[in-house]
Symmetry: C2
Subunit: 214 residues, 2 copies
């Protein structure tokens, strides 16, 4: 059943799923089973913050607030609000002086990652951040394979542009595995994706002099 | 009249004012009169993004969504939600490879900036970002004087710590003017605060070698 934004544009399934996730994450959990990718990344970010390794947050969902009640002696209640389409990616922050900016996406596919998981505004945002020497990437999970990758924004954008010119509609797992950096689940944190970022930085030109005007 | 978060803690007046501001900013405006500091900064950020000068956004207000209706053929409506206390500052993004992170604050005082405008969680967040070599600061407006400054987080944190040890409850304008960087209103953008950041970076040790693991 399709829903629509107040401006008439189609309401996206991933945005639709978010309020539910947000509720779930606020409950007490006694194990990690059934954790969503988002919850696992949030938990990992919390780990990184607590140990002064990085300061990275998921951005709140942007809402258009229309009506707020202020009951006496209790919390203000929002009585009418609408989801707005985010103009950026979901996560950003700072790691050893680097600006990190990323999205997290999952697929049940086994051989490739469908580009329909991304939206034009996310690609545009990543392009802009890359031009500012930000470190942009996606954390991609192949659910059925139980494999997780950090895949840099540059090749993703190349695939995106090829698609809009009639190219293929997905990125092959081979390519993600070759150009990306695999992340292996661990205990602390659950998703140690900054290890992959260290590898990405080691191979990146950003680290080698064109940064910070030297 | 005091309001409270669902957890019982006091609901802050600046958070309370936000939904109103958010609505106003979505309307069409025909001049700049009566623009809030937040709106002016948002507009300046838009200018910077459009010209590929920097990618900086205000973060959405964090909400706890409790109830959502999905009416047929129209946008999902949030019917019950609560404000949550933000754990970070309001603005962040990337500028020439630098991670920027800041708050915007106003005072009607003429001789000093009251520290009560800041909250512990904002100070803690700035401290963490500084340890990651982020560029942290506040944009401070003295409303009655019509003067605007970029004031770095480090001296702010020093004042904050002194206050908690019985020191003075505000930062003198003299000090802000001496240690900070004055920003002069302009047309494009309204608040050219990145000029002040250039000055801040020129005097900063972050720029001189301890950055990016050299």
């Amino acid at each position: 059943m399709p829903f629509h934004y107040p401006n008439g544009s189609l309401y996206h399934h991933d945005a639709k799923a978010r309020p539910k996730k947000q509720l779930v994450s606020s409950r007490t959990r006694f194990d990690n089973r059934g954790m969503s990718l988002e919850e696992e990344i949030n938990e990992s970010n919390q780990y990184y913050r607590a140990r002064d390794i990085a300061v990275i947050y998921k951005k709140p969902i942007p809402l258009q607030i229309v009506k707020v009640d202020y009951p006496k002696r209790s919390a203000a209640v929002i009585k009418e609000a609408y989801f707005r389409r985010p103009s950026t990616t979901d996560y950003n922050g700072v790691y050893q002086g680097y600006y990190l900016d990323f999205e997290a996406k999952e697929t049940k596919n086994k051989a490739s990652f469908p580009l329909k998981n991304f939206h034009q505004h996310q690609i545009d945002h990543m392009r802009r951040c890359l031009r500012q020497a930000g470190i942009c990437f996606v954390i991609v999970r192949f659910v059925s394979l139980d494999r997780l990758f950090v895949y840099p924004a540059s090749p993703l954008i190349t695939y995106w542009d090829q698609q809009t010119n009639g190219g293929r509609k997905s990125i092959p797992l081979n390519e993600i595995s070759a150009t990306g950096f695999e992340v292996h689940y661990a205990l602390k944190p659950r998703i140690p994706y900054l290890k992959a970022i260290d590898q990405l930085l080691a191979t990146s030109t950003i680290d080698k002099g064109d940064h910070h005007g030297q």
